[in-house]
């Protein structure tokens, strides 16, 4: 029951990214024809740093995460772009190469740990099995290592709990078990897909604290998929905001929160009630996000935007690079938005 300080921001990353997504495009077959779900998404993940991908339902954030893991199955498919990891393009890698990388060098933690764990094996057995098949460890050594990993993610009485089954774990403990499993093979990159969305706020705080500590210990790069602006502000270093399948803004978290350069980001930041602020009425973005089925020409946000002009409905703004380096916005009026002139 410790008092902890919300982790201070880290220095900007130096050197080359450990994982780069370049111009990723993903399509899904629907009853109404082929629909683009992710378009031209580029991301860089650095060692020891966290990139948050922020978006609402249908924004394409989870599909992006799954693409990196090679988890896109029909009716979906990757139609373009690259996922560059350790000198290889995972999109074009052979099935065998992929198998060695995803799950091992790149691991993922899902929102719903109960459906991701196997109900008929004990938690300890599931972690141990991974170590035996992927690391060739003996049964005994793998079991001992599984207990170590469970202790490391702060599961109390790990020795005893390793013998228990997923249904005997609470939501928070299951999420810890998932994290232990993801860390078992010492990944270079961890993808956390809404890792705390299903959890209560006191448990969410524990899990995010744990993930940041583990990142400091291991130096792994992290992609945090979330819709929660508070979680982004407290844990991420850089941020990519997705809307209707595209990145509409990216940059360092403190930069983007202090001076958003896209009206959607700005609207989101205004629309949430805050514990440290009093407002009469909340700022509300009108309308609702376009679904995959009714994507429009021009800017996908134009219909809900408070500063849209005629150009926005006819021409789609490219993601333009801004300063400082790494900052970008896909808005025709990004300069004005950035400087608060509109």
């Amino acid at each position: 029951m410790a008092e902890t300080t919300v982790a201070a921001p880290r220095r900007p990353a130096e050197g080359a990214p450990v994982l780069s997504v370049r111009d990723l495009c993903v399509e899904f077959d629907t009853r109404d024809g082929v629909r683009p779900v992710v378009q031209d998404v580029s991301l860089d993940v650095y060692a020891g740093r966290t990139l948050a991908v922020l978006g609402e339902s249908g924004s394409g954030k989870s599909v992006t995460a799954r693409s990196v893991m090679g988890l896109i199955d029909p009716p979906g498919r990757i139609t373009g772009g690259q996922v560059l990891f350790e000198g290889r393009d995972l999109v074009r890698a052979s099935a065998e190469e992929r198998r060695l990388i995803s799950g091992e060098r790149i691991a993922i933690v899902f929102q719903d740990a109960l459906s991701a764990l196997n109900p008929v094996f004990s938690v300890g057995e599931q972690i141990a099995e991974l170590l035996r098949t992927r690391r060739g460890m003996s049964r005994r050594a793998a079991a001992a290592r599984a207990v170590e990993l469970m202790a490391r993610v702060r599961i109390p009485a790990a020795q005893r709990r390793a013998k228990e089954y997923p249904h005997q774990f609470s939501g928070g403990m299951r999420q810890r078990a998932m994290i232990a499993m993801a860390l078992a093979l010492e990944p270079t990159v961890l993808i956390a897909d809404e890792p705390t969305t299903a959890l209560d706020v006191t448990v969410q705080a524990q899990i995010m604290d744990l993930l940041l500590d583990l990142q400091d210990e291991t130096g792994m790069g992290m992609i945090l998929i979330t819709h929660d602006l508070g979680v982004v502000a407290e844990t991420a270093d850089t941020l990519a905001v997705m809307y209707a399948g595209r990145i509409v803004e990216r940059g360092r978290v403190d930069d983007v929160f202090a001076r958003p350069a896209h009206p959607y980001t700005r609207g989101l930041l205004h629309s949430i009630p805050r514990l440290d602020r009093e407002e009469e009425a909340l700022w509300a973005i009108p309308g609702s996000p376009p679904t995959v089925l009714n994507r429009v020409t021009g800017c996908a946000f134009a219909g809900r935007c408070d500063v849209a002009v005629d150009l926005c409905t006819t021409s789609r703004p490219e993601l333009a690079e801004l300063r400082p380096a790494g900052r970008a916005s896909a808005c025709h009026r990004h300069e004005e938005v950035l400087h608060g002139r509109v």
Binding site: M1, A2, E3, T4, T5, V6, A7, A8, P9, E56, S57, P156, S170, G171, G172, M173, D200, V201, T202, V203, Q204, A205, Q206, M208, D209, H227, D228, L229, G230, V231, V232, A233, E234, T235, V253, D254, F257, A258, G267, L268, L269, S271, I272, P273, R274, L275, D276, E279, A281, L282, W283, A284, I285, P286, S288, P289, T291, R304
Partner: protein
């Protein structure tokens, strides 16, 4: 406001769920979902109820609107015990206290159009409105919640989550209630839609004088919308008071820990804000801890907490009530300090 008669009064409300059978030779275990909750709600007021999953807040909501029968305790609407009346009088009371549920995806019949969904309340309460006036009332409701009148003949699946929640709200408003119990009404909605629906609730309250019991796990939303706030833990109220008192000056350690766990959407606070991390999860309501239910996670707990259950009580100087033997110290008011 305190002088007026409350529109809703909940007195020592309790709901235990008993399992079909227990272990041989032992009584069936009871889930003490709600265990002695009391509060009053005044006209035009919003009482927020916060708490984590399993704290009993949804069972409380269902008992208030009569969807669940209390094991003991009373829910009074303007003085009348909601659960003891029958027939016509019961129907009349039900009409005055409505509920809006979390999930607009499952709480609306998918095979009925919006028009049919909104007509249903008048079919159940036939004496309320002559048939001829129903169409006009439905049009009025649709306008009130900001739905497109041209979409009345659409089905729920043709609407987005936010619009579906508007349909749910319109239905709750149909019979002109005095109280709406909102059970996690914005939790399933996207961030950009949440604000629209929260603003709608506030506008309707101003225009119609509604009183809300607003149940949610999102502490920021509850703070924004509430006049008073109750914090629930394992079936009991840990703290109850004005929004300002509870949020700015939490006295129960659980309230304090809960507030400190909320991530702030401000990166400037990083490295400066401290937080108290609670260990573990809330214990099971089947077998709650003796004494204070929070003691197993509480850093201030003493032996006394295991043996003597603290009762919800206020102190003289500070109006909020809290159930704790070792309350958090009163913070200096930043406005006067």
């Amino acid at each position: 406001m305190a002088a007026s008669e409350p529109v809703l009064s909940v007195e020592n409300l309790t709901r235990h769920f008993t399992g079909r059978r227990g272990l041989p030779g032992r009584p069936a275990p009871a889930v003490r979902a709600v265990d002695g909750v009391s509060f009053q709600l005044h006209a035009g007021e919003t009482l927020g109820i916060v708490g984590e999953s399993g704290c009993g807040k949804s069972t409380l909501a269902r008992m208030i609107v009569g969807l669940e029968t209390p094991t003991s305790g009373v829910v009074r609407f303007r003085g009348t015990d909601v659960h003891s009346v029958r027939g016509r009088q019961a129907r009349e009371l039900r009409r005055r206290v409505q509920i809006v549920l979390q999930d607009p995806y499952t709480s609306l019949n998918p095979r009925r159009t919006v028009r049919e969904l909104l007509r249903q309340p008048f079919e159940i309460h036939r004496d309320l409105l002559p048939r001829k006036q129903q169409a006009a009332r439905i049009a009025e409701l649709v306008e009130l919640v900001g739905l497109d009148p041209d979409h009345l003949d659409r089905y729920p699946f043709q609407f987005s989550g936010g619009q579906r929640q508007r349909i749910g709200i319109a239905r709750a408003l149909a019979l002109s209630p005095d109280v709406i119990v909102c059970d996690e009404p914005v939790s399933a909605l996207d961030v950009s839609i949440q604000a629209q629906v929260v603003n709608l609730f506030q506008r309707l309250q101003r225009e119609l004088g509604l009183a809300y019991v607003f149940i949610a796990h999102d502490l920021s939303v509850v703070r924004h919308i509430s006049d008073r706030v109750g914090v629930m833990y394992l079936g009991k109220l840990a703290e109850l008071g004005s929004r300002r008192d509870v949020y700015d000056n939490p006295r129960h350690p659980y309230t304090s820990a809960l507030l400190s766990a909320v991530p702030m959407p401000d990166p400037q606070l990083r490295g400066r804000r401290t937080r108290r991390l609670l260990e573990g999860d809330p214990p099971s309501p089947v077998d709650p801890p003796s004494g204070c239910r929070f003691r197993t996670r509480c850093w201030r707990a003493t032996d006394e907490c295991a043996t003597v259950e603290p009762l919800l009580a206020g102190d003289d100087r500070h109006r909020q009530a809290f159930a704790c033997h070792h309350p958090m110290p009163v913070q200096a008011d930043p406005a006067t300090a």
